[in-house]
């Protein structure tokens, strides 16, 4: 029985030894290039909009809307998850990833109805981002108010 205890104690190390770790170098390269490409696309859209006479703020806002649309469309076409498989954080962090995180559960839970399925579960992934995004912006706002 001592043996069982001993194995249990060392088990975490055994698991670490047996578990292959992801190739961080390759993953970082993918994330860098895919994330970078998404940003370049955003920048191109912004610049094109500016040549049509939109101001900096308007152009940025419309760019965001377009990128969200592209993310949603690629999710709907079952493509975004394939990009994410290689890009990891490279396709999660940009706004297209946020769009993906809303559309993916919406698609998944549509079968449980539009209210309790899609409506209620749409933000299961993005919900925490929104909640803590809002809370931290309030906190930053308060700090900014007192120390500006």
């Amino acid at each position: 029985m001592d043996k069982a205890k001993q194995i249990k104690q060392n088990y975490k190390e055994m698991v670490e030894r047996a578990s292959p770790s992801s190739n961080m170098g390759v993953n970082c390269m993918w994330a860098f290039f895919v994330g970078g490409t998404i940003c370049v696309i955003g920048q191109v859209i912004t610049d094109v909009l500016k040549t049509y006479g939109y101001g900096k703020d308007d152009a940025a806002m419309i760019t965001t809307v377009i990128l969200i649309f592209i993310g949603a469309l690629l999710t709907g076409l079952n493509l975004y998850d394939n990009i994410g498989k290689y890009a990891g954080a490279g396709s999660i962090v940009p706004i297209t990833g946020f769009s993906n995180s809303v559309v993916a559960p919406a698609m998944e839970y549509k079968k449980e109805g539009y209210i309790l399925g899609m409506g209620a579960r749409m933000f299961t992934v993005a919900g925490p981002v929104i909640v803590y995004g809002v809370i931290s912006s309030v906190a930053v706002g308060i700090i900014y108010y007192f120390f500006k």
């Binding site: 043996k3 194995i7 088990y11 047996a18 999710t75 998850d81 990009i83 994410g84 995180s101």
Partner: protein
């Protein structure tokens, strides 16, 4: 005290004096399994994950229904001959099984042992048959990749990376027809597993969760039956994958059992991980079920193996307890199948 309990051996094992016979098996799998190395062993390969239904859950129930139809047909029996169905799956309230057998009108025992369910349902079915309570009983299980991802992990279309320790839930259902007599391999012993928890909290490393349970059950099976690794031609675990395989062999070595020369894992056999992007291997109730019903049963019939110890492994993962900080308990049940 328990003099008449002469069928119960040691702590966890039952010996069958009149071993129940596996007279037929059936297996039905999804497209990915149909592209894997065991494809030729399966009765049916479906073309898409929805299987003509409008939800994955309905598709999984249909898998069970078709597996049962097929096994009854292959056993040359009718529905009315079957006295019990013992079945389970991964979905909440065992909904794949309950909807799958809804139209059969046969007494039903639903069991949950996570991915160990095939061995659990087979054990119970064997006990019923050997006890003389029924002549024909079917044991069945299923799993479905999309349903399992939805219930236990994240939406399918969510873009992200799966760690290399993760496994891929098999889409498929296997059914085994047990009879009190007839032609076929027999179930001679069952060793029922206990919950073994080595404090692993990583839901993406199920092999590590289940390996200690598999080792525990195999060791206790050897002790209870006074057998060892030399007795069996094949010792096959359910869905430990590559990570779990290394761990179970390492643990057993520390107890002076070296099973490596006759050891296999259904999760490793069912996919080609490099081509099929399945990382550590296959998992789910369906993994052990279709490998046993397809590959193992067929090869026993051809004489490749005579004495097989089938050890299905389960990780009793609950989203609620995991999020509350609990570890994931493991379990493994062993069934000795001999020809």
């Amino acid at each position: 005290m328990c003099n008449n309990l002469n069928k119960h051996l040691g702590k966890q094992t039952i010996r069958f004096d009149n071993p129940p016979v596996i007279i037929a098996t059936s297996s039905i799998v999804g497209p990915r399994e149909g592209e894997g190395p065991l494809a030729t062993y399966f009765d049916t390969i479906i073309e898409d994950e929805l299987y003509g239904e409008n939800t994955w859950e309905k598709a999984e129930s249909k898998l069970i229904e078709k597996a049962l139809d097929k096994v009854i047909e292959k056993a040359n029996k009718t529905i009315d001959d079957v006295k019990y169905i013992v079945s389970g799956d991964l979905l909440n309230q065992l909904s794949a099984s309950t909807f799958g057998i809804r139209n059969f009108k046969i007494p039903f025992l639903g069991v949950y042992g996570a991915c160990s369910t095939m061995a659990e349902s087979l054990s119970i079915a064997a006990i019923i048959v050997e006890g003389g309570f029924a002549d024909y009983v079917i044991a069945c299980t299923s799993s479905h990749f999309c349903c399992a991802e939805k219930q236990f992990r994240s939406p399918l279309e969510l873009g992200g990376q799966r760690p290399l320790t993760s496994t891929w839930t098999v889409t498929g259902s296997g059914a085994i027809f047990l009879a009190e007599s007839g032609e076929g391999p027999k179930i001679t012993y069952v060793t029922t597993g206990k919950i073994v928890d080595f404090n692993i909290k990583d839901a993406m490393n199920m092999g590590a969760v289940m390996a200690p349970a598999a080792a525990d059950t195999i060791i206790n099976h050897f002790i209870d039956t006074e057998r060892d690794e030399n007795y069996y031609d094949l010792i096959i675990t359910g869905d430990l994958g590559k990570v779990g395989k290394d761990l179970v062999l390492e643990i057993l070595k520390q107890y002076n059992y070296d099973i490596s020369s006759k050891y296999m894992d259904c999760g490793i056999e069912i996919y080609e991980p490099d081509k099929q992007d399945t990382h550590s291997g296959g998992s789910g109730c369906g993994c052990g079920a279709v490998t046993l019903a397809g590959y193992i049963f067929s090869e026993i019939g051809k004489g490749k193996w005579k004495k097989v110890l089938f050890v299905a492994t389960g990780a009793m993962l609950s989203q609620v307890s995991l999020q509350q900080g609990e570890s994931i308990p493991g379990i493994a049940h062993a069934v000795a199948i001999e020809n």
